[in-house]
Amino acid sequence: MEGETVNIRICDVRAVRREWSLAAQGIFYEGVHLVTGDVGSGKSTLALVLAGLFSPACGTVERHGIASQMMMFQSPEYHITGSTLDGECRSWGADTAGVLASAGLAGRNDEDPLRISRGELKRFILACVLSRPYDLLILDEPFSSLDCREKERLCRTLSSRPAGITILFTHEQAFFPRVDRIWEISSGKLWDRGRMPEALARWEHAPRMVKKLVEKGTIPANISHADLREAVCRM
């Protein structure tokens, strides 16, 4: 999909927070991008810069062909404006029954979003976010608080997004959608590790199992759970 007109271009950006800074440069084309890095490396800051919610000290972020965008914050509480699940769905312009069924909360229309469990709230906000198509979808740690089954389900949903740019910021180690490109933040800089599967050999903070597979020369086709499972069985 590279070369198409929908993209987000980071030009010599430097984001500064107190005594810490992050330098970034690169182009995110249509497809699924994984941005990894340790906690505190600057993933959330870069997500905010890409969403236009944090102004870099220098450099620019250019959007091309992006008419709609959404950023999901790490803390689902930040999205809540309604006092009931039904009210919250309506605030997103989403079909309540569909969203609640998708989040496994069918029939709980009148419950207060801030009184359901954190895992349930995460599922609920993810269902609201994913109820509409966006040209640019930015997800900051979407897997935190989800159980393994829900992580796998989310990966399937993200892998099947038909169009647009999906940028996933996460420190997750076991569950990923099929991705087109891997990026990494380390030592205050965004590194483009390249397209799959070549990116795997350059992925410094790769999960232990991915590193082991690469060391053994059993390169998975991608990093979805199914791809990794297949490679592990082949190893």
Binding site: G37, D38, V39, G40, S117, R118, G119, E120, R123, E141, S144, S145, L146, D147, C148, R149, E150, K151, E152, H171, Q173, A174, F175, H205, P207, R208, M209, H225, L228, R229, V232, C233, R234, M235
Partner: protein
């Protein structure tokens, strides 16, 4: 030995469950009752009916260390040193002993450099370590940790996991969504629908979860 009998609390219902010493990991879907069970074991919540006994004694009468999923939500003091010493000060322990225990636990966790830092300025991993220090400073019989790894990267989780395993506490009980970590435990409890689905050593429990997302990836392909 922890013994749970005829327990009912909110959606949780457990007829009989015994938990031995060592590292016990509680796993299961969201809403299956993991945090509720940890809160009952810690004595933060009490059963609506039935009993939880630790060597025959209710949790509230036993020394227990507790680390919240969001550690800063349980912190009372602004400065790291004050936070770690607070459980001992609340017990009116003599100053000399407070200093000795606090220094010892900070050394064990490698956080001496944080002593004068403000809690609000710490990273996520540093907050977990401070919460662990405040839990360990009372020398608990049981350390209970609620999904501390959910908000940490793999490297930090591994470092902290090692520090926990090195500590001479008789029992550590934690819940996680990291099945590789669960597979390294002495005992695994899989909760589902408010009850115990499977309990036993990792081989026993995960052999029942082979066709699910809970099965550890590193175990795939094993005979």
């Amino acid at each position: 030995m922890i013994l749970i009998q005829n327990l009912r609390y909110r959606t949780l219902a457990i007829g009989h469950l015994s938990i031995g010493p060592g590292m016990t990991t509680i796993i299961g879907p969201n809403g299956s009752g993991k945090t509720s069970l940890l809160r009952l074991l810690a004595g933060i919540a009490v059963p609506e009916s039935g009993s939880v006994l630790i060597d025959g004694i209710p949790p509230r009468d036993t020394e227990i260390g507790w680390v919240n999923e969001f550690p800063d939500r349980n912190m009372l003091f602004g400065r790291v040193y004050d936070e770690i010493t607070s459980p001992l000060r609340f017990r009116h322990m003599p100053d000399g002993q407070i200093t000795e225990r606090t220094e010892s636990v900070m050394d064990a966790l490698g956080i001496r450099s944080l002593r004068n830092r403000l809690v609000e300025e710490l990273s996520g991993g540093e907050k977990v370590l401070v919460a662990l220090a405040a839990a360990l400073v009372v020398r608990p019989l049981i350390l209970i940790i609620d999904e501390y790894d959910s908000h940490l990267d793999g490297n930090r989780t591994e470092e902290i996991g090692q520090l926990i395993r090195q500590n001479p506490i008789p029992s550590v009980i934690h819940c996680t969504q990291d099945m590789e970590a669960a597979a390294r435990s002495d005992q695994v409890i899989f909760l589902q629908d408010g009850g115990v689905g499977h309990a036993g050593d990792p081989v026993q429990v995960f052999s029942s979860l082979k066709d699910t997302a809970f099965f550890p990836l590193s175990w795939r392909g094993k005979p």
